[in-house]
């Protein structure tokens, strides 16, 4: 069974209670989330699944503090995400969240090293930045590729750079949006292995948003969304 929604005495890394999100696009009102509640404990591996338009991307944006919920409460690592200014949200994303995207989203003009350094720059880290970035790249097995630009790296390697970038500020959660979607199956499973290793070695909480049943199969818990609601939860509590 899943933990209770309302009263966990331990501090959960994610506590979303009855979260809704409504977009108003001109005349049309879109109810992207219609009351979603989710609690995630530190070190869990979660997969969020659902067809297009089910609200899973919106949910991921809320979980990643990229967007504020319309109603309901959401707290990430003990910090309530509501009525926060843009700058405060930026700081929370910088410290608590590591994003991994389907299209990698690396800066093309920058080397792998410089891409990984970027979150630390925005965090105002000045000393030891390069060393930390190199350590993160070594952790994803790219110690010999630090001065390569994204166009000189394979898709799998690019995704590793993105993982190093997500890791480098030691976030509470890593949010991976279809991380294997643009990769062949071999590199895809390597990336998954890498993320699971990081979960084992560092205790990093992983949240996948995916269509891929292989990704979902390796998660500890699967959450299915449909029309902005959780319709199914499969898995065991860690």
């Amino acid at each position: 069974m899943v933990p209770g929604h309302f009263s966990t005495k331990r501090m959960s890394i994610i506590e979303a209670i009855d979260v809704t999100k409504i977009y108003i696009m001109g005349e049309i009102v879109v109810h992207a989330l219609r009351g979603v509640s989710l609690t995630v404990e530190r070190g869990e591996i979660i997969a969020i699944m659902g067809p297009s338009g089910s609200g899973k991307s919106t949910f991921m944006n809320v979980l990643g503090a990229l967007d504020r919920p319309t109603s309901g409460t959401y707290s990430l690592n003990g910090q309530l995400i509501a009525d926060r200014s843009d700058d405060e949200l930026a700081l929370i994303r910088n410290k608590e969240v590591g994003f991994i995207f389907q299209t990698f989203n690396l800066l093309g003009r920058h080397t792998a090293l410089s891409n990984v350094e970027l979150p630390m720059r925005y965090a105002g880290v000045t000393s030891g930045r390069k060393e930390r970035a190199i350590a993160a790249l070594e952790a994803v097995g790219l110690g010999d590729r630090i001065h390569h630009r994204p166009n000189e790296l394979s898709g799998g390697e690019q995704q590793r750079v993105a993982i190093a970038r997500a890791l480098v500020n030691d976030p509470a959660i890593i949010l991976a949006d279809e991380p294997t979607g643009n990769l062949d199956s071999k590199s895809g499973s390597e990336i998954l292995d890498l993320l699971h290793d990081l979960n084992q070695s560092r205790g990093t909480t992983l949240i996948f948003v995916t269509h891929d049943s292989e990704v979902a199969a390796r998660a500890q818990r699967i959450i299915r969304l449909l029309d902005g609601k959780i319709v199914e939860e499969i898995g065991v509590e860690v």
Partner: protein, 407 residues
């Protein structure tokens, strides 16, 4: 992100699209270059004009007949007026006085003919106007007393009439048909403000009165007075004015004469050149403005192109001001680069104008001044900031979710 990093990153991003950055910079280069060149030309023109006014002599005063429009029938200036001004007791600040008459005359030698400005002068005219003779001597007291038919020719006049500049002493020229003996040739003085002394001829005042210009009794057209020093010009002006007021019996405040000092000429010339400079600079500033709009345009394109990058940067923790700063750094860098190249370009342009001017014998030396450089630098940086601000603000205000989704 510190300033140095931001500039470095901006440079990196600008150099990734060199042609576009180059063309954008070109707008600023032309604008700044035009401002620099126009200000330099204006400054050069001012220096030429003030220089030629200064060559008149800094301690001279020019007295003319007629005052304000309210004065009807002003008394003419006379030789007696000149003598009164020359009195050291009533005008202690005045050391030298030269009255003269002037008119257009016809000068002929053999089949050559010239219509020029003739001056009937006293023997101290050369001294007061700092007129040097290349050959011969100037008109003296004996010539004045004897109403001699002698003439001193300006440098250009000699050239026009004889086709040579030496060996003309003793030749006889005809002025309005009457024979005059050439006794001196003036050194070239260079063109100056109102009348070019190189194109003039000088004859004795007395001779001119009777035979050429024909002034009744002892009337003169103007009086030049020399103050003891440049500092005494104001004092001398007061003294001359009070002498003439008494002599002409004018009511208080309605002088029937006008005294110009070199300072007045300078003032007038400065006003004119300033208007000229502001006009040219203003036209140039418009092109700088157009350059700034070019920067704004390109920054909008750049923001749109990099929407996803902005979204990504925000996702990993960039605050709005980090993004604002990033784009402002780019636009400022564009305009600063443009400014630096523009200063060099403007410098080159004004040297070119100077070269053309000296090749065509125009006395104009454009001068690039430090304040023009500072002005252009500050202005171009301000243009970059101003026109970069709106695109940068738009970038920083992007919603991270929408920016990331942008295709």
């Amino acid at each position: 992100m510190n300033l140095f990093q931001a500039l470095l990153e901006a440079l990196d991003s600008l150099s990734s699209n060199k042609l576009r950055s180059g063309l954008t910079i070109l707008g600023i280069v032309i604008g700044v270059g035009a401002v620099i060149a126009m200000l330099a030309i204006g400054r050069g023109a001012e220096e030429t004009i003030t220089g030629s006014i200064n060559s008149i002599g800094t301690n001279l005063l020019f007295v003319f007949r007629g005052g304000s429009d309210e004065v009807r029938n002003p008394d003419p200036l006379t030789l007696s007026d000149a003598n009164a001004i020359n009195d050291p007791f009533s005008a202690p600040s005045v050391v030298n006085v030269a009255p003269f008459i002037s008119g257009d005359i016809e000068l002929t030698f053999a089949s050559e003919r010239a219509f020029i400005h003739g001056l009937g002068v006293t023997s101290n005219y050369d001294e007061i106007r700092n007129l040097k003779l290349a050959e011969g001597r100037f008109i003296d007291e004996a010539h004045l007393l004897g109403r001699s038919a002698v003439v001193v020719l300006g440098a250009d006049t000699v050239e026009t009439l004889f086709g040579r500049t030496v060996g003309v002493i003793g030749e006889t020229v005809r002025i309005d048909g009457q024979p005059f003996r050439v006794i001196g040739v003036a050194e070239p003085m260079g063109g100056s403000g109102f009348s070019n002394p190189d194109k003039q001829v000088y004859f004795p005042l007395t001779t001119g009165q009777i035979r050429l210009i024909r002034r009744r009794s002892d009337r003169v057209d103007a009086i030049i007075a020399q103050a003891i020093s440049a500092d005494a010009v104001g004092q001398a002006q007061e003294e001359i004015a009070s002498i003439l007021r008494i002599r002409h019996r004018t009511s208080i405040g309605v002088d029937d004469f006008t005294i110009f000092t070199q300072q007045d000429f300078l003032e007038t010339a400065r006003t004119i050149t300033n208007v000229f400079t502001i006009f040219l600079g203003g036209v140039a500033a418009i092109s700088l403005l157009v350059g700034g709009i070019g920067i704004m345009n390109i920054m909008f394109v750049s923001v749109t192109e990099r929407t996803r990058e902005i979204g990504l940067r925000k996702a990993i923790g960039a605050r709005n001001r980090d993004i604002l700063f990033q784009f402002l750094a780019e636009s400022s860098l564009l305009s600063m680069l443009g400014g630096v190249i523009g200063i060099i370009f403007g410098w080159g342009l004004s040297s070119l104008v100077g070269a053309i001017a000296s090749a065509s014998d125009v006395d104009l030396a454009p001068k690039v001044s430090l304040d023009a450089i500072i002005l252009a630098t500050v202005f171009s940086a301000a243009v970059g900031l101003f026109f970069g601000l709106y695109p940068a603000k738009r970038a920083s205000d992007l919603e991270p979710v929408e920016a990331l989704r942008y295709e």
